[in-house]
Subunit: 439 residues, 2 copies
């Protein structure tokens, strides 16, 4: 049996447990919260302009827009808006944003197929599982080279999750995977622009197309994980014993959606900055004019996602530890307004210009950390470090905190209650159509 066949067989036979289903409900809640928080983003309006020029059947929801669109358009826009504020979940093994790709795909497909709430959640669990496993199997070199896993690997996971939700045969799963492999794209050089969240939407749209092409039995190579020129040859480090075992071993035991679990966000910026932000928050507000130097130290290149050392806009600041630490040292709140499309103020720029970033190669047993050291003009130094910021495995955002995040972003009590009630009884919904109509 070939690797692709073995892999799709695991997916075909996947049976997520009750714990995974509960984790999935929290994922749906936080995804929708992030979508509603981003519903008025400028980029959403631009994308809505484009789809108005296309027209099309109005069958699938555009979250928070009071509109419907084609499944592909809905996947594109919902993917974008879930990730627009970088407020949606991440997953450390994925090294990217699973829900922003998976859930728009599943919602789009559930709009034109009869799907139960339980099957939807199971498919989501399978999608996170697959995305984390493929991301580990292509190795960290994939991300470090410059690929954006949310896009490149998201499309594969979402196509497989979609196929699983629609109860595809093994052969159909392999076919959907084939279409996804040949549409895999997304470059990190666009981080800090609207194109980063667009990657989530493009991947979701491509995943929907992969499922649709399979449904009309368009033909392709059904062994895209095997042989010379396979997905792993092009996007990873080839097919090795090690990455085969990452893909195939230990299914139906622990689920990646629960362990290490989705990392939910409480601030709207890149999770790679959460460690440094946590350390800076321990230091707190300082008089700007007394700061001589700020040194920020990362373990093992864990700052790769933070591509802006000298950001020009607050939006770019979502990927700048220098900017985020400058906000904290000034006592400014870590809220949307401070990460909008506008120039960075002068005081922040002053602190950024005094900030130095460095990396230390650590031994494997050393936990991921970021350290912030501030030297004042009087020679005093203050130093703090964090290995367990809010959201991480050791310091998870609780169900109650997610409900609060939802409430503070939706600001519509009646709708919040409807939504929360639906989500917490999601596995009992026989057909999703009425749920889809409230989004």
């Amino acid at each position: 049996m070939k690797l692709t066949e073995k892999f799709v067989d695991k997916i075909y036979q996947a049976t997520p447990d009750a714990g995974a289903i509960e984790s999935a409900k929290l994922g749906v809640l936080d995804f929708l919260t992030s979508c509603y928080a981003g519903k008025d983003d400028q980029g959403v309006h631009k994308l809505r302009e484009l789809i108005q020029l296309e027209g099309g059947l109005e069958v699938a929801p555009l979250i928070g827009q009071g509109l419907k669109a084609t499944p592909g358009q809905s996947a594109l826009i919902n993917g974008f808006l879930a990730h627009a504020l970088d407020f949606d979940d991440v997953h450390v093994e994925v090294r990217g944003h699973p829900s922003a790709v998976l859930l728009p795909t599943l919602l789009a497909l559930a709009s034109t197929n009869d799907v139960s709430g339980k099957r939807f959640l199971e498919a989501y669990v399978v999608g996170v599982e697959v995305m984390a496993r493929i991301a580990r199997a292509v190795s960290d070199q994939h991300y470090e080279k410059g690929w954006h896993n949310t896009g490149t690997i998201g499309v594969l996971a979402a196509a497989l999750a979609g196929g699983y939700m629609l109860q595809f045969s093994r052969e159909q799963l392999a076919q959907a995977l084939g279409f996804a492999t040949t549409q895999s794209s997304g470059l990190r050089c666009h981080f800090g622009t609207e194109t980063k969240p667009l990657h989530a939407g493009l991947a979701a749209r491509a995943a929907v197309l992969s499922v649709q092409l399979t449904l009309v039995n368009f033909n392709n190579n059904k062994n895209s994980f095997d042989g010379k020129g396979s997905y792993f040859d092009i996007y990873g480090v080839g097919i090795t014993e090690q990455n085969s075992s990452i893909l195939l071993d230990g299914w139906n035991k622990e689920w990646k959606i629960t362990s290490p679990g989705l990392w939910f966000k409480i601030y709207p910026f890149c999770s790679a900055a959460y460690f440094g932000a946590d350390a800076a928050l321990k230091i707190g507000r300082l008089p700007v004019e007394e700061i001589e130097e700020v040194i920020i130290t990362f373990s093992n290149n864990t700052d790769a996602a933070l591509i802006h050392r000298n950001p020009q806009t607050c939006e770019e600041g979502r990927f700048s530890i220098e900017y985020i630490v400058s906000l904290i040292l000034q006592g400014k709140p870590l809220v949307f307004e401070n990460f909008a499309q506008k120039p960075i103020d002068e005081l922040s720029q002053q602190i950024i210009s005094k900030t130095v970033r460095q990396n230390v190669q650590e031994q494997p047993h050393v936990a991921r950390y970021t350290k912030v050291k501030v030297t004042l003009k009087n020679g005093n130094t203050i130093e703090e470090s964090s290995t367990t910021p809010k959201g991480s495995k050791e310091n998870k955002v609780t169900k109650q905190e997610l409900i609060e995040k939802c409430r503070s972003n939706l600001k519509n009590e009646e709708f919040e209650e409807t939504l929360l009630n639906s989500i917490f009884s999601f596995d009992e919904i026989k057909s999703l159509s009425s749920f889809l109509s409230i989004l």
Copy 2:
């Protein structure tokens, strides 16, 4: 000035000459001939099923279908059908199929923008130019790794050609390029299936989206050819002096569409097999039962595209020198019927099982060749070689032969005359809308 800026400046300032425009007319003719020849392909019907489920405004032509669709749908389907039979032009420097991506993109964009015939042809010339230059700049390693240049590089060239046609500013060209880089995909492991021609359609659709995103000023990294993690880091061999000069030098002198020029096809299979087919045609028909062995020798891995050594279907046979030579040695014609989606007959399989393929590493001055050597059971050998098959630079398909190819594939005299008249006076058409309505 950065590389991206310098490159888009060349495009902005491009002024194709009269010779290039005449070459472009032949390209349009052969593209449309290939589309009409492929108009009833099974894959087209599957894609039409998909877009019927989407609906959408009917503004852009689906060639030969008597239907219109959205610009994106039109780009997808026309791209697919141009390349469905592998009967469309190739370009040796592109190492792929320029027109199947460029022209569907330009037709889709011309459907919603007022464009003259001359500007359309100029944009096409620029598209071929850009596609050949980028393909050379990513080096042969790109193709040999397993990427399908038609898709991966086609999307960049088509987005830039589209932007040029719509008279984008330099900044807008850089923006469109950015969207194209982050959508670049397509794997050669799907060769020999319907997904190969789909790559042309997907690239054209992505190019249309790249132009549309630029028109609504969606933001992105406008320097996607520069810096760490740039397009050339990910898809090529980094940015070197050599590939910068390939991109930038010698513009507005000779045009790639004329020299080496588009390679037009007279047989519906991969052009990499044309050398071997030409050699086998010199040998001609032999009694199958007397064949002991067939040895086919390629220079310098020029068989990379011919991925099927032991094809199972006649369609896979489009990428199998073994199958093509077996047809010729049996005296069978090189026509569509023998490359359809059906199993390969027993007699052809017998010859294939006696065929050995080999590669010889040659010195740079040795011209590309394929050699066919047949050993008979009586010990006699027959050997022929070709360096200049029909279609190649040294043995170009003439205008008259292209007109004949058009006539023998369209089989509708009145329409042929209308089409030929339009194409040969294409540069005099003030607005393309009435031309688009006859397709």
